[in-house]
């Protein structure tokens, strides 16, 4: 094929994916490695890429220690209870103790943060959230990353990580192709910081036509963080911990500001409060440790988000849907009405488009809420991702192997969606994780850990062949048929995505089965995924754009397989409202108060599963 091979050599720090995690990494790396070569490979254009491309109206992780508002350990306890205990508290504590310095920098760079006129402090939406005018959040952090990086390669779809041929389990860079020119790009690097995205669109979405683009998480978040790292043999954690969002119906507009700032609330179709009536039954499933409405009421301890979802799902199944968000009161106040609309315009314009199209003015009617299809990602309110080392001064021995945020592959670091066990990082926490990873990566190089890396030409050639195979396959077989997309020799990426979404939905607890699965279903699902992997060898791409979709599909498939294995391994229903194991419908702390860890052997494709201990922060007086 006529595509050029373009080799970028001698890189110290390669940032793969420059969303909030990747921009944080590139920015900070320059301070710790002032003479190091820092390169960014980004699938889109760094000015508008990643989950924050559209903007944000809030920063959801800010402690406010300067005003005595919260301490890092308070945030750890909050994330712990929200995730039913299953978090990496060392990583969370570390992120929370640094995150304020990140946010203060953002303000200094020009990000408009709203202020409380009475106190002069940042305007709080909730205990952890502050409100911003964040339309240009991404261009601002991109400017910082561009300032620090030696080179930014936009429009590179990174397909694989390169591995060192001289030392086992050590990273050596990455390869991919330019989605415009089609050229093959090879990045030889001493370290890689994976800032790629989590997984939208691995489960069948509620809207399957044009509207399938209106996913809650960005449709370009193609599970590449997981696809890349799993294929490199990195251990993954908590991949079963998918998230289901209760959001405004169809547009998936955010509800955080509505609940917390506008003080709106939900009710069933009869105008009744419905949540509390599901609590007694739910308490029997999860135990009083996890659901204690009285204690929550007295201490402001949150009720885990999954359990609140469970109440919505149960109420709708009982025939009293839809669930409405009661906005009519709050929206009579013109200031709050403005906040409500700007909230959408700042981060989910599609919801404003939908309400304009359907004449829904929340001043005059209460809009519908629904629960979304599941998503797998590690930076919002769930902790899927790579099993990473924590910081030296916090982590217990099982969580520490030398370098902060380094995965179990040497020299491969993570940030944002890539890192497992750190939910509730959101944008500011992801950027902070990138900063932490960058510092550690520089130290890894300075300690001499990246000496003597060898990348053979054979490896580079093998990947090249693999990358362009879908184009080649199309070229060979397209003339076997007259026209159209039905061909016995291949499937195209859209057909493959439909298959993946359908089987994940039906066998792994998607929306059409009310988030229900069990061991039998999961085993069938795994079998179908294996057969699908064979068919992915017969994937056909008509052009370079379809080649991009082909590789996104391969990453999604790999992530989905890992999710399926993890869901099978954890024999309990830890997060009712996110998914249910019908054959083990209770929280089982005796056997499953642990973090799940998997590794896929890159040679054989076999998964090994293990349990890792769950540590919690307690008083040192105990």
């Amino acid at each position: 094929m006529a595509y050029k091979t373009i080799i970028e050599d001698g890189i110290d720090i390669l940032v793969v994916g420059a969303g909030l995690g990747g921009t944080g990494a590139a920015w900070e790396a320059r301070f710790w490695g002032q003479d190091k070569k820092i390169v960014i490979a980004e699938k889109a254009n760094i000015d508008r890429s990643g989950a924050v491309a559209q903007g944000l109206y809030a920063i959801n992780c800010y402690m406010g220690t300067r005003w005595g508002e919260n301490n890092p350990e308070d945030h750890v306890r909050y994330a712990r209870i929200d995730l039913m205990g299953m978090v990496r508290e060392d990583l969370l504590f570390d992120m929370a103790r640094h995150v304020d310095s990140t946010v203060h920098q953002f303000e200094d760079w020009g990000l408009p943060i709203m202020k409380d006129p009475k106190t002069g402090r940042y305007l709080r939406e909730g205990r952890w959230q502050i409100m911003i005018h964040g339309e240009s959040y991404k261009p601002i952090v991109a400017e910082a990353a561009k300032k620090s990086a030696d080179k930014v390669f936009n429009r590179i779809c990174v397909t694989h990580l390169l591995m060192d041929d001289s030392k086992e389990n050590r990273v050596a860079g990455a390869v991919g192709f330019n989605v415009r020119t089609g050229d093959y790009h090879v990045f030889k690097s001493k370290t890689v910081i994976c800032g790629a995205g989590g997984a939208s669109n691995i489960f069948k979405p509620r809207s399957v036509g044009e509207g399938s683009g209106r996913t809650w998480y960005a449709p370009w978040s193609s599970a590449s963080a997981y696809g890349l790292m799993i294929d490199a043999g990195a251990k993954m954690t908590q991949m079963e911990n998918r998230i289901v969002l209760a959001r405004f119906k169809d547009g998936y507009g955010p509800v955080g500001a509505y609940f917390l700032h506008l003080k709106t609330y939900t009710q069933n179709c009869l105008g009744e409060e419905y949540e509390s009536k599901w609590f007694p039954e739910l308490q029997k499933m999860v135990g009083k440790e996890y659901l204690d409405p009285e204690a929550s009421h007295l201490t402001h301890r949150p009720i885990p988000t999954c359990l609140r979802n469970h109440c919505i799902i149960s109420e709708v199944n009982a025939g009293r849907g839809p669930i409405h968000m009661v906005t009519m009161k709050a929206f009579q106040d013109p200031h709050l009405e403005e906040v409500g609309w700007e909230n959408f315009l700042g981060m989910t314009v599609g919801q404003a488009v939908l309400w304009a199209a359907t004449d829904v003015d929340p001043k005059n009617e209460n809009p519908e809420l629904t629960t979304s299809e599941p998503y797998v990602m590690g930076s919002h309110a769930t902790g899927s991702g790579a099993w990473c080392s924590g910081p030296e001064d916090v982590s217990p021995p099982e969580y520490f192997w030398g370098y902060n945020r380094m995965t179990t592959v040497e020299g491969l670091f993570g940030a944002g969606d890539a890192v497992g066990g750190t939910p509730h990082a959101f944008s500011s926490g992801s950027f902070t994780e990138g900063r932490l990873a960058a510092k550690a990566a520089c130290k890894y190089i300075d300690d001499g850990k990246a000496e003597g890396i060898v990348v053979s030409d054979a490896q580079i050639e093998r990947r090249k062949k693999e990358i362009y195979k879908p184009l080649e396959h199309y070229r060979i077989y397209r003339n076997a048929i007259v026209a159209g997309s039905v061909n016995p020799h291949y499937i195209n990426p859209k057909q493959g995505l439909d298959r993946l979404q359908k089987l994940m939905d039906e066998y792994c607890g998607g929306v059409t089965v009310n988030y229900m699965t069990n061991e039998k279903l999961l085993n069938i699902g795994l079998k179908k995924l294996r057969i699908m992997e064979e068919d992915l060898e017969s994937l056909a791409a008509e052009d370079i754009h379809e080649l991009l979709r082909a590789w996104e599909l391969k990453h999604r498939h790999r992530a989905a397989e890992c999710v399926m294995h993890h869901t099978l391994f954890r024999k309990e229903t830890r997060w009712p409202g996110y998914y249910y194991r019908g054959d083990a419908m209770k929280v089982d702390d005796e056997n499953w108060h642990v973090l799940t860890v998997s590794r896929r052997d890159p040679e054989t494709g076999e998964y090994t599963m293990e349990k890792a201990p769950c540590y919690h922060l307690v008083s040192d007086k105990e």
Binding site: Q54, G85, H104, G211, R214, A218, W341
Partner: protein, 159 residues
């Protein structure tokens, strides 16, 4: 939708192609103008709409659930540092909003870390990041540690 492009306004400059996070704004080979090649991979993120110098790109809500007859238009002004929105409902109701997008002139507020004083060995071996500890609390307070918080990590079930 998904975005669409007005034939008479687009001059084929390619700003939308350059910015689209989903790689779905492409130039039509016959008309030499941009169009959305894959509406079901469009997030309605408005990156292309904001970037279009001709205001040639608009959004028609997803056909699955959005009736016709609405519009949400935007004008992003980098120089003024503002973004203006106009929402028109199907029934004719109109709402207008204006927000700041930055508080500083572009390209002026972010330092070049290559030329700031580099970190000491002590800082390299410790837990601080750039500008810390000062920027954590903007006073003389230090970085939180388990010790300073009176905490330890313990295996098992504790709440």
């Amino acid at each position: 939708m998904p975005t669409f492009v007005y034939m008479t306004r687009c001059d084929g400059c390619g700003h939308c192609v350059d910015i689209c996070p989903s790689d779905i704004m492409h130039i039509d080979k016959t008309y030499r103008r941009a169009y959305n090649i894959e509406p079901n991979m469009c997030w309605e993120c408005y990156s292309c709409v904001k970037a279009c110098p001709q205001h040639a790109i608009d959004v028609r809500g997803y056909a699955d659930f959005a009736p016709l007859g609405h519009s949400v238009r935007v004008h992003r002004d980098e120089e003024k540092g503002t973004i203006a929105w106009r929402i028109k409902f199907r029934n004719g109701t109109e709402k207008n909003f204006l927000s700041p997008i930055t508080t500083k002139p572009w390209g002026t507020a972010i330092p070049q870390l290559r030329s700031v004083p580099g970190p000491s060995k002590e800082m390299r071996d410790g837990q601080l990041l750039y500008n810390e500890p000062k920027w954590i609390r903007m006073d003389d307070g230090g970085l939180h540690t388990l010790k300073s918080a009176g905490l330890k990590l313990k295996k098992g079930v504790y709440y």
